[in-house]
């Protein structure tokens, strides 16, 4: 493939095997470290003002020490495909780093594609982290047993993930989308430390479904994160599947706006399926949240505002299906059923706490389906505090242990209660 290699007038193509003598250990159980060969390629790429392609041919490569950060524009790391090029990454360092340039300059148009990364014995570090970047693409990437998966922290803009799987995350984060304070500048960067315009298609993040990692978060967007677009997402196991929360470290408490999501499946979380502690305008269409092992399916806390869910199923969660404490939530065609799996008939399908303001359900249900034989039973379909101002129209609250509704609906039309 050396025909892509050129003078400084075209994009250099650097083959880490033929150009840098990286050791392809395809048949070897333990190989020599390729970090130095790849770092030489990264140094060439960083020195290019025309970008570079670092190609890793099919094979199996051992990475025992850290890769240097990519700190130039238009650099991409290209494997032959997630079934063909494998990096075996051990140790404690982050594998790929984009940005973090001391000048505060944002790097543009970077990418990684076509890699399988094995991290079975890794005990710390991210597979990929980026900061101070604009236009980054990760595609066709399969990671086996990462410790932590991906960190994209502000300022970072225009991040695209397509066909990415993180299998058995063992650390605290599958993918941490980390914005800081609203309009906050963090030295040396001169652009706001937001995480903004993040698109992801066909992304699977799986954690461990045990009590050993209750703090792990599979997908976590925090602080000033704006305009996230998600399509076909699976979050399986782990402590919490989806987290949307305020920043913990910025000078002000900021949180995100606009999470658009279609086709999301969250299951087998240990602590909570979705923990929306702070976010404005969350849109979820065609979602399933099921089988949380020790807690509720979805918890919308006091700073979750303007939540919209259309076509959803929330079922088989240990405590409540949905807890709502925020401002303004509408669900349409959402079924909440067979929750309260702790066997005490003591949790409701939907719990709306004191301080919540404005919960609406239309054409939805909270009850237990007659087609399934379960001992556990939701206490109430919906249970809410006075002042919550709940609307229910065209809903079914049937098959609950105590009764359909506990509380006085502010607006009530066309419902079935038993």
């Amino acid at each position: 493939m050396s025909f892509f290699k050129g003078t400084n007038t075209i994009t250099p193509w650097i083959n880490v095997v033929t150009d840098q003598n990286a050791n392809n250990n395809y048949f070897s159980p333990v190989g020599t470290d390729v970090a130095q060969a790849v770092n030489t390629a990264i140094a060439l790429a960083n020195a290019s003002d025309k970008g570079a392609v670092i190609f890793i041919p099919p094979g199996r490569y051992y990475v025992n020490s850290a890769f240097d950060a990519i700190q130039a524009n238009f650099v991409r790391i290209v494997g032959a495909g997630s079934g063909l090029t494998t990096l075996v990454c051990n140790g404690t360092s982050n594998v790929f780093t984009f940005g973090y340039k001391s000048t505060g300059e944002n790097m543009v148009m970077l990418g990684i594609q076509g890699l399988r990364i094995e991290c079975n014995t890794k005990t710390a570090g991210y597979v990929f982290r980026a900061r101070g970047v604009d236009y980054v693409t990760l595609s066709d990437i399969y990671v086996d047993s990462p410790f932590d998966g991906i960190l994209t922290e502000g300022p970072c803009y225009n991040i695209l993930l397509r066909d990415v799987t993180l299998q058995t995350v063992r650390g605290n984060y599958g993918w941490w989308i980390k914005g800081y304070g609203r309009d906050e500048l963090i030295s040396p960067y001169t652009s706001s430390a937001h995480a903004q315009i993040i698109k992801f298609y066909n992304v699977t993040i799986e954690g461990q479904n045990t009590a050993s990692t209750p703090t792990s978060r599979l997908l976590c967007a925090e602080g000033a994160n704006y305009s996230l677009y998600a399509d076909t997402i699976r979050l399986i196991g782990g402590g919490t599947g989806l987290t949307l929360r305020s920043n913990a470290e910025g000078t002000s408490t900021s949180y995100g706006e606009f999470f658009h999501c279609v086709n999301m499946f969250i299951a087998n979380s240990y602590v909570m399926g979705a923990n929306i502690s702070a976010h404005n305008d969350v849109e979820l269409t065609n979602i399933t949240v099921a089988n949380c092992a020790t807690g509720p399916g979805m918890h919308f806390n006091t700073r979750s505002n303007n939540i919209r869910i259309v076509n959803g199923s929330v079922y088989d969660n240990f405590n409540e299906g949905i807890i709502f404490q925020g401002n303004t939530m509408t669900m349409s065609s959402v079924d909440v059923f067979n929750n309260s799996r702790r066997g005490l008939n003591s949790n409701s399908g939907i719990l709306i706490t004191t301080g919540a303001n404005g919960f609406t359900m239309v054409g939805s249900s909270s009850g237990n389906t007659s087609s399934r034989s379960v001992v556990e039973n939701q206490q109430y379909g919906i249970n809410f505090a006075a002042g919550a101002r709940v609307i229910a129209v065209g809903c079914r609250f049937v098959g609950n242990a105590t009764r359909g509704v506990n509380g006085t609906l502010t607006a009530n039309a066309g419902n079935l209660f038993s």
Binding site: F74, T137, C261, E283, V310, V362, I391, G394, A411
Partner: protein
């Protein structure tokens, strides 16, 4: 010229390298227009001979293009670069001159057959040198067109599609349109017969497509407003348009749906969008003067410069919007003058941001939803209340104002927090909160 070969070495398609075969330089100094045109001409000839197609390969480089490239006229011609929008530098074109850049046209030179299987992929175009002139991509008489990994900045007009069907756009950016009175992306058809084909655009899928102008609200040099470029227009016989994660920003209107001539003939039909933003437009986020069947999920109409958020005109029929939001607009959030609209689980808030003199102020004169058409239903959602930021003083006049004689239903809707009242006119209400 070499061949793309199969596993056993069989020749699959001609492979024409613009550098190796036609002497393109790619240093942004030498003019490569004629070399790349010659490569496309060769591809046309070979594709015509083999009846299957040919690949024009653009290796990495920065190509200086000063005029029109040869029109693609044959089935299966594919122009392949090594990187456009995502990721990497790859194959860049630096364009100047007033001509159009890429054109695919089955009817070129008097031909009468639609061409198939055309691809343009992996190219980055800086059109700053074109001084706002020309169109970057033009298709006519094409069935099966893929535009992929394609990134354009500082263009005059972006893309024009006529008589084009089965078009796929993926990872395409048209950033920063600059021509006054131009367009960013326009699809149009009269519905008339041309060479035995119906003049229409049909079956379009767009994934991760971003289209913008550079300017918004006084950003133009000298503080002027560029209020003339519509971002995406579907005019006339334009059917089955699927938009997935698109952002149409900073134009006059974000999305325009109308007759070809503005008044008669076919109207766009079956327009579908999800996870998409129509934001910061000078005019309306969505300006649907005429459309049959529109289905939008998870869309965001925000911050129109001086207009309504979404406007559905008298010939907008069967509109369905779910799990969406419409806020921070200058006038009304949603205006509906058409026939049949259902709005489900959608929040409309903080609109009416000007007073009658056109000054940014909270005088609460415009309603969240203003209906003069027939048969409008709102199911769940809100128009008015937003406790998210209680200090925000923008209030609608009414949550829903039925100013016409049509039937308006509000079921399970939160209509509190409006300035003059929850509703005005005749609104059939069931299970709403109004105070």
């Amino acid at each position: 010229m070499s061949f793309l070969k199969g596993l056993t070495g069989e020749k699959i398609l001609p492979w024409i390298d613009v550098k190796a075969d036609h002497g393109a330089i790619g240093d942004n100094v030498a003019d490569d227009t004629s070399a790349i045109s010659a490569a496309i001409s060769a591809a046309n000839s070979l594709a015509q001979q083999n009846a299957r197609g040919a690949i024009v390969f653009i290796p990495p480089g920065n190509y200086k293009i000063t005029g029109a490239l040869t029109t693609i006229t044959q089935n299966g011609v594919k122009i392949i670069g090594t990187g456009g929008c995502f990721p990497g530098g790859g194959s860049g074109f630096y364009c100047s001159g007033s001509a159009d850049v890429f054109t695919a046209n089955g009817f070129f030179g008097g031909a009468t057959t639609v061409i198939k299987d055309i691809v343009i992929s992996g190219i980055r175009i800086d059109a700053s040198g074109k001084n706002k002139a020309g169109t970057i991509v033009t298709t006519n008489a094409v069935n099966g067109f893929i535009l992929d990994n394609f990134y354009v900045v500082n263009y005059g007009n972006g893309m024009l599609n006529t008589l084009t069907s089965n078009m796929l756009l993926r990872e395409v950016d048209f950033q920063w349109a600059q021509a006054l009175n131009g367009f960013a992306w326009k699809m149009q058809g009269t519905g008339n017969s041309i060479n035995g084909y119906e003049d229409k655009v049909e079956n379009v899928e767009a994934y991760n497509v971003n289209v913008t102008t550079r300017y918004f609200k006084g950003d133009l040099p000298g503080g002027a407003n560029d209020n003339t470029i519509d971002i995406v227009s579907c005019l006339g016989a334009v059917n089955n348009i699927y938009l997935d994660t698109v952002t149409f920003l900073k134009g006059r209107h974000g999305l325009v749906l109308d007759h070809y001539d503005g008044s008669t003939g076919p109207v766009p039909r079956n327009i579908v969008a999800k996870n998409s933003d129509f934001e910061y437009n000078y005019g309306k986020g969505i300006n649907a003067r005429a459309v049959n069947s529109l289905q939008f999920d998870n869309i965001y109409s925000h911050g129109s410069g001086f207009e309504r958020g979404m406007d559905f005109g008298p010939k907008a029929n069967n509109i369905k919007i779910t799990a969406s939001s419409c806020h921070d607009h200058w006038l009304q959030g949603i205006v509906f003058e058409g026939n049949g609209m259902t709005l489900t689980a959608t929040d409309v808030y903080w609109n009416s941001q000007n007073n009658s003199s056109g000054v940014y102020a909270s005088t609460n004169t415009h309603s969240g939803i203003y209906v003069t058409g027939k048969d409008f239903t709102m199911l769940g959602g809100t128009s008015g209340i937003n406790p998210q930021r209680p200090s925000n003083s923008f209030k609608h006049a009414y949550g829903i104002d039925n100013a016409g004689s049509g039937r308006v239903q509000a079921i399970g809707v939160r209509l509190n927090g409006n300035y003059l009242g929850a509703t005005n006119g005749t609104v059939t209400s069931l299970g709403n909160i109004t105070t």
